[in-house]
């Protein structure tokens, strides 16, 4: 996918307004970008009818949007221009031509975070300031932050109030990759400490979206009919003629990767870094790389969401990817022969209404994309897999000022957090800047699944269903998205630092999000909520 290219500041007319951005003077942008949202014709495939073009919401003319490559220490600004056709004048009818773009899970100020109510209309632009700083800079008293807080694979997507699901479905997603001196984007980097992970064309972002198309090859958003209705008069006992407006989810019937239907990719016989991301809207995956459509090949997992895990983890099993989750996977194709084919394979059966998993594996797995091994042995693969990446920031429970609980449930056909629906004007948690808290998130339902995402900061999972999460567990590490299955409960530790303002926690099944499973929390310089301290526990973990 194309890499976004900076533009001269002079092309931003009018220029950015420093008074609109927290800490502008601390993090003056060194690069500027322009991204224009517009309606585009996109070829999901060269086969009919998709080769006729599918109307989509693109960014700079493509979907996914260009990949941003950001380096820590190089702040940047992206001006996003809404050039979408006004309501009723475009080809796409199910998405709203009003957008806000969130970089998931960047450490940026609230006014640049893509808060759901911070949207533009056609003819407007929004300036997003990305400081490219590690979290924790204020505590350290510098403008660098704590390198243990480095983020890697992020992505950006629409986050428009009430319309996130159809807008992202229509095309408004893309990758945002962070690099620093260790993860230096250079597999030939001889600097001591550089990871030398596969780079350049061997560093491949892969965003999965399942899409439903109509007979004309146009992406269709299914309002009705996802829930089979009991009808004893019909063979099988169910029919699809259901009037229930689905607030549960949207399951597409075509698997796309980078907005191409079930593509293949020619790979050389060397290592690749594959950044696998479930872009939603609702489907859960359990993924492995297989040759026979069933048996997992060994791979090396190096990240959880946007965070390096302390040490690479070799896995020969299926791994769950819920919406918004990503893992960077290293595969060494050197051990395969020319002509071998590997498939990114899904075994998890999703509920047809999109509300989660059925609890069953598929009888025949889904083949999402194919990797074709080509060429002879590559003897000079310079890339490496370090034995160790980074220490995690320590969990110091004595820092914790408050414990909070977020309960996710379903009432009146709507998705609630602590029995409430999203109101951007209602702050449900006032958090003191430079404080730590422990959050417990709980799924009070027994039939649906919620990938819970909270913005701006990462969390370190302490417990899953009451049991500690320890090194070696796939859940160990920092996360921004948490898998809450039916009845599950997760407790995590987090810090809130460096900026003030509103952010959100929400389900990243974006249909749930739009039907109001979202809540606002706010970092404040002088919050009184956080000083209601719990009894400190003098213990450090990690």
């Amino acid at each position: 996918m194309p890499i976004a290219q900076p533009v001269p500041l002079s092309q931003l007319n009018p220029p950015p307004d420093p008074s609109s951005h927290q800490r502008w003077d601390d993090f003056v942008p060194k690069k500027y970008y322009i991204q224009t949202l517009s309606e585009v014709l996109w070829e999901y495939s060269d086969q009919y009818p998709y080769n006729q073009g599918s109307w989509s919401y693109g960014m700079n003319g493509i979907i996914p949007g260009e990949t941003f490559v950001a380096n820590y220490g190089e702040p940047l600004l992206i001006r996003r221009i809404n050039n979408l056709p006004p309501v009723g004048q475009g080809h796409i009818k199910f998405a709203l031509p009003s957008s806000t773009i969130h970089t998931h899970n960047g450490h940026q100020a609230s006014e640049s975070d893509g808060f759901p109510a911070d949207f533009t209309f056609p003819g407007e632009f929004w300036d997003h300031h990305y400081p490219s700083v590690y979290a924790g800079c204020d505590k350290l008293g510098n403008l660098v932050g704590d390198p243990r807080e480095a983020l890697t694979t992020l992505w950006y997507h629409d986050h428009r109030l009430d319309f996130t699901a159809p807008n992202t479905y229509a095309g408004l997603t893309g990758f945002y990759l962070n690099f620093d001196k260790q993860d230096s984007n250079n597999e030939n980097d001889t600097t001591p400490g550089a990871f030398r992970l596969p780079s350049g064309k061997y560093d491949v972002p892969l965003i999965l979206h399942d899409v439903a198309f109509d007979k004309y090859g146009q992406a269709a958003w299914d309002f009705v009919g996802a829930v089979p209705r009991v009808n004893p008069e019909v063979a099988g006992g169910f029919d699809s003629h259901n009037t229930t407006y689905t607030v549960n989810g949207m399951i597409g019937d075509r698997f796309t990767v980078n907005r191409r239907i079930q593509p293949f990719f020619r790979v050389e016989r060397r290592k690749y870094r594959l950044r696998v991301l479930n872009g939603g809207p609702s489907r859960l995956y359990s993924l492995a790389f297989t040759m026979d459509g069933k048996t997992p090949e060994p791979v090396v997992i190096i990240t959880n969401d946007g965070n390096f895990i302390p040490a690479p983890l070799t896995v020969q099993d299926y791994v769950d990817y819920w919406p918004a989750q990503r893992r960077d996977v290293i595969i060494d194709f050197a051990k395969y022969k020319k002509g071998d084919k590997l498939y990114l394979t899904n075994r998890l059966e999703s509920r047809v209404d999109g509300a989660g998993q059925t609890g069953r594996y598929l009888d025949t797995n889904d083949l999402i994309m194919r990797f074709d091994v080509v060429g002879g042995p590559v003897n000079n693969d310079p890339s490496r897999i370090p034995e160790f990446f980074r220490d995690m920031p320590p969990v110091d429970l004595s820092e914790v000022k408050r414990e909070r609980e977020w309960k996710f449930d379903y009432t009146n056909g709507l998705w609630t957090i602590n029995d409430k629906l999203m109101d951007p004007d209602r702050v449900d948690a006032h958090i003191g800047k430079e404080t730590a808290e422990v959050w417990t998130i709980r799924n009070d339902g027994d039939a649906w699944s919620h990938p819970i995402h909270t913005h701006f900061e990462e969390g370190i999972i302490l417990e899953f269903n009451g049991k500690p999460v320890l090194p070696g567990d796939i859940r160990y590490g920092r996360h921004d998205t948490y898998q809450l299955g039916p009845g599950d409960e997760i407790k995590f530790f987090g810090r809130w630092r460096d900026f003030v303002g509103r952010y959100i926690i929400h389900c990243h099944n974006t249909v749930h999000e739009d039907h109001a499973m979202m809540a606002t929390w706010k970092i404040e310089s002088d919050s009184t909520e956080s000083v209601a301290a719990i009894t400190p526990v003098k213990k450090t973990i990690g």
């Binding site: 307004d17 006004p86 949207f119 929004w126 319309f163 008069e233 229930t244 407006y245 293949f264 009432t411």
Partner: protein, 238 residues
């Protein structure tokens, strides 16, 4: 079996490289057109076809003015609407009509012209047309552009399915409810909690108004200068 969507068999392409269609062996069936669904038991439910891009069921309603209308054809089709449930006896505990009234006031002359409101009673037995009339007058509901309606149990089941994802009236005591809004001409539908700021609600509803061609220089949507006045729930330039 759901036969509305099928998968291509042996979908393949000879093109090289990533991002082009390739073979996949997991397919089972073929793509078919997404047709408007019809009720299998249509006979028992009357003229119950899902209508338009918003896919509302067509049911017969009685307004507080005593008119008999079709919900979709007369009240939703070709309009921008707010539609929600209420009941007279529940208004004290969950003042949704009062909330909608705040929104309606902000629409001003647009109400009845550019946007219409439909309040559906979830208690048609108690909320007779006469009671609804008195209630609306007591609340100060504008006469133009806002209809209070009641309908039969079967019809209400269909409408509740469309609006609430389940086939029964919303539970009023839950104090959780969405007001749905949409532009039916285009097929854009959303929903907001009943108790959000009225200015927020108006902004959301006007977002789906028919758009006009954009002209002139680009305008800054945001963020506004830190500390500058503006709406409390966003960072948009005022």
């Amino acid at each position: 079996m759901n036969n509305r969507r099928k998968f291509l068999v042996n979908f393949s392409s000879g093109a090289a490289g990533l991002l082009l269609a390739g073979a996949a062996a997991a397919a089972t069936t073929d793509v078919v057109a997404k047709e408007k669904p019809k009720y299998a038991d249509q006979k028992s439910l009357g003229t119950d076809m899902l209508q338009g891009s918003g896919e509302f069921p067509e049911v017969t309603v009685e307004t507080s003015e005593g008119k008999t209308l079709k919900l979709y054809k007369d009240l939703v089709q070709d309009k921008v609407v707010l539609i929600h449930y209420m009941s007279i006896r529940n208004e004290a505990a969950f003042p949704v009509v009062a909330k909608v009234l705040e929104i309606a006031k902000r629409f001003g002359s647009k109400l009845g012209q550019d946007v219409h409101i439909i309040s559906i009673t979830s208690d048609p037995q108690y909320d007779t047309t006469a009671r609804l009339r008195v209630f609306a007058k007591h609340m100060g509901v504008p006469r133009k552009g806002w209809d209070f309606v009641r309908m039969s149990g079967e019809s209400s089941t269909l409408v509740a399915s469309r609006m609430h994802g389940h086939a029964h009236h919303p539970m009023p005591k839950a104090l959780v409810d969405l007001i749905q809004y949409g532009n039916e001409t285009v097929g854009l539908w959303g929903g907001f909690p009943a108790n959000i700021e009225p200015d927020d609600a108006v902004l959301r509803v006007t977002s789906v108004f028919p758009g006009k061609p954009v002209s002139g220089p680009l305008r800054r949507g945001g963020p506004r200068p830190l500390g500058a006045p503006g709406m409390s729930f966003n960072n948009r330039v005022a």
